[in-house]
């Protein structure tokens, strides 16, 4: 497939650029790709990297899942129900632009320094991104679709199932795409404290020890994690939104 080839080509170009930059810079702070590859392979072989990759993946996925499960239904309702929209929009308007990362101290006080705080912070930040996109998408559904389903005699729940959700799904998936980037970035942040596991920890720890090859192993693994989540989402989109590809 052309697309796969293009992605592979882009990966090669990026690796070459990295290599060139590493050689040109000649600094310990930017090792060459093959050094990182060897280190990554060794860590994968002895299983240590897999552990961290797994725990980071779980944290990111749990955060995104928690956000989706709450933001999508709420966003759809706020967007589609006039009264709810009027009442809740001001709160969203005020709360959305707050940099939620700064709530970390509060979250730790409330939920401790365990797993849940990490997941919660990821979820909180992604929640608002998905909420706002979903609400706007639901608000902008064309009136014709409502008329059409009304003439077929649908209950409100059926309107959600057959019109509101499918009409907004492409936008929700776009929001999720953006959220993956955010989630991985926040993942790094939450794994840089009060834990000894996860890719974020590896990165911070290697950095502290000035072990730059290990540092880049961690970074590569994190990039790979984000990339895999992206691919997964692409798959999902092609399954769920066949109709958008037909135009």
């Amino acid at each position: 497939m052309g697309r796969k080839r293009d992605i592979a080509l882009a990966a090669v170009v990026l690796l070459v650029l990295w290599e060139v930059a590493a050689l040109a810079l000649g600094s310990m702070a930017l090792p060459q790709p093959w050094q990182v590859a060897v280190d990554t392979a060794r860590r994968l072989a002895d299983g240590s990297l897999l552990d961290d990759l797994a725990i980071s993946t779980l944290r990111a996925l749990a955060g995104i899942a928690l956000a989706l499960a709450t933001a999508v239904p709420l966003g759809l309702m706020v967007g589609a129900e006039e009264g709810l929209r009027r009442r809740l929009s001001p709160y969203i308007y005020l709360l959305y632009p707050v940099p939620h990362v700064v709530l970390l101290p509060l979250i730790i006080i409330l939920f401790g320094i365990g797993e849940f705080s990490k997941i919660f912070l990821i979820a909180l930040i992604v929640f608002f991104q998905i909420l706002v996109t979903t609400r706007d998408a639901a608000k902008n559904i064309h009136r014709n679709y409502y008329l059409a389903i009304e003439t077929l005699g649908a209950s409100r729940l059926q309107v959600y199932r057959h019109v509101i959700l499918p009409a907004t799904l492409p936008k929700i998936l776009t929001a999720m795409r953006i959220s993956i980037g955010t989630a991985v970035a926040i993942l790094f942040f939450v794994e840089s404290f009060a834990t000894t596991r996860g890719l974020g920890y590896i990165i911070m720890d290697s950095w502290g020890r000035a072990d730059y090859v290990a540092l880049y192993s961690g970074i590569s693994a994190m990039a790979a994690l984000g990339f895999c989540l992206y691919l997964l989402l692409d798959r999902l989109e092609r399954r769920l939104c066949l109709w958008t590809l037909s135009h």
Binding site: T151, G153, A167
Partner: protein, 247 residues
């Protein structure tokens, strides 16, 4: 039985109310057919929405016995782009909780009748305008309505397909003994399908004339002198309105 008595309707535009329908009165008997014809923007769609219960009159009475068992074909078809042709057609039955087999059989039959066999798996966006209109028609017929409201259901079909579908509508109307109201721009279509013809004039929409046309739906009606003269009569009424020719 449909009774409209001195119905008025207006839409508010930034404080001011724009009158759209003024003092509309007519009646359609059970199992009868009614065609509504008039210049663009005179309020035909709004009138149909009143009949279907999607709008309420500001003044006057709109009474439609059996409104809850009505089906409607919207002007822009109102198909759901995220559902396949088969899913669109079967939706009314699905919403009523019909068994999967019943739905599939009905969809299959209707697609055949509409000359759409083999297109069940397509999305509306992959079909021509005329095919989409036929899908909309199949969807409205699937629930076996007692009253059928149609808003220019055949406007983007070629002349021959159009005649074939007019015949089909006449068959459905006479065969299933349903009441139908058809909005159209075409004088010939109004005369062929409307046993009662409501001629509307523009701004605000009002009844110019009610024309009785008892021969409507007859198999060779199109070739008769009566048909020809009725068409001339309608043209004169509409021309007298001075809004220029409609396309």
């Amino acid at each position: 039985m449909i009774t409209v008595d001195s119905a008025c309707l207006g839409f508010s535009h930034g404080g001011a109310t724009l009158p759209v329908l003024h003092d509309i009165s007519f009646a359609v008997a059970e199992c009868d057919s009614c065609a509504v014809i008039g210049p663009s923007g005179c309020g035909k769609t709004s009138l149909l929405f009143l009949l279907a219960g999607l709008l309420r009159p500001d003044r006057g009475v709109v009474e439609v016995v059996g409104q809850e068992q009505s089906g409607m074909i919207l002007q822009n078809y109102g198909l759901f782009p995220w559902k396949t042709v088969a899913e669109n057609v079967g939706l009314g039955l699905v919403l009523r909780g019909a068994a999967r087999k019943t739905v599939a059989a009905t969809v299959e039959r209707l697609l055949g009748e509409m000359g759409l066999s083999g297109f069940g798996g397509h999305f509306p966006g992959q079909l021509s305008g005329g095919m989409q209109q036929r899908v909309a028609m199949a969807r409205a017929l699937a629930v076996e309505p007692r009253i059928l409201f149609m808003d220019e259901p055949l406007s983007s079909l070629d002349a021959l397909t159009r005649e074939r579908l007019q015949n089909l509508i006449a068959e459905v109307w006479l065969g299933k003994r349903i009441t139908m109201v058809l909005v159209t721009h075409s004088i010939e279509e109004a005369v062929f399908l409307g046993r009662r013809i409501v001629v509307l004039g523009g701004r605000p929409g009002r009844v110019l004339r009610l024309v009785d046309n008892p021969e409507a739906g007859g198999s060779d009606y199109r070739d008769s002198d009566v048909f020809f003269h009725r068409c001339v009569l309608l043209r004169q009424i509409l021309k007298g309105e001075g809004d220029g020719p409609e396309t």
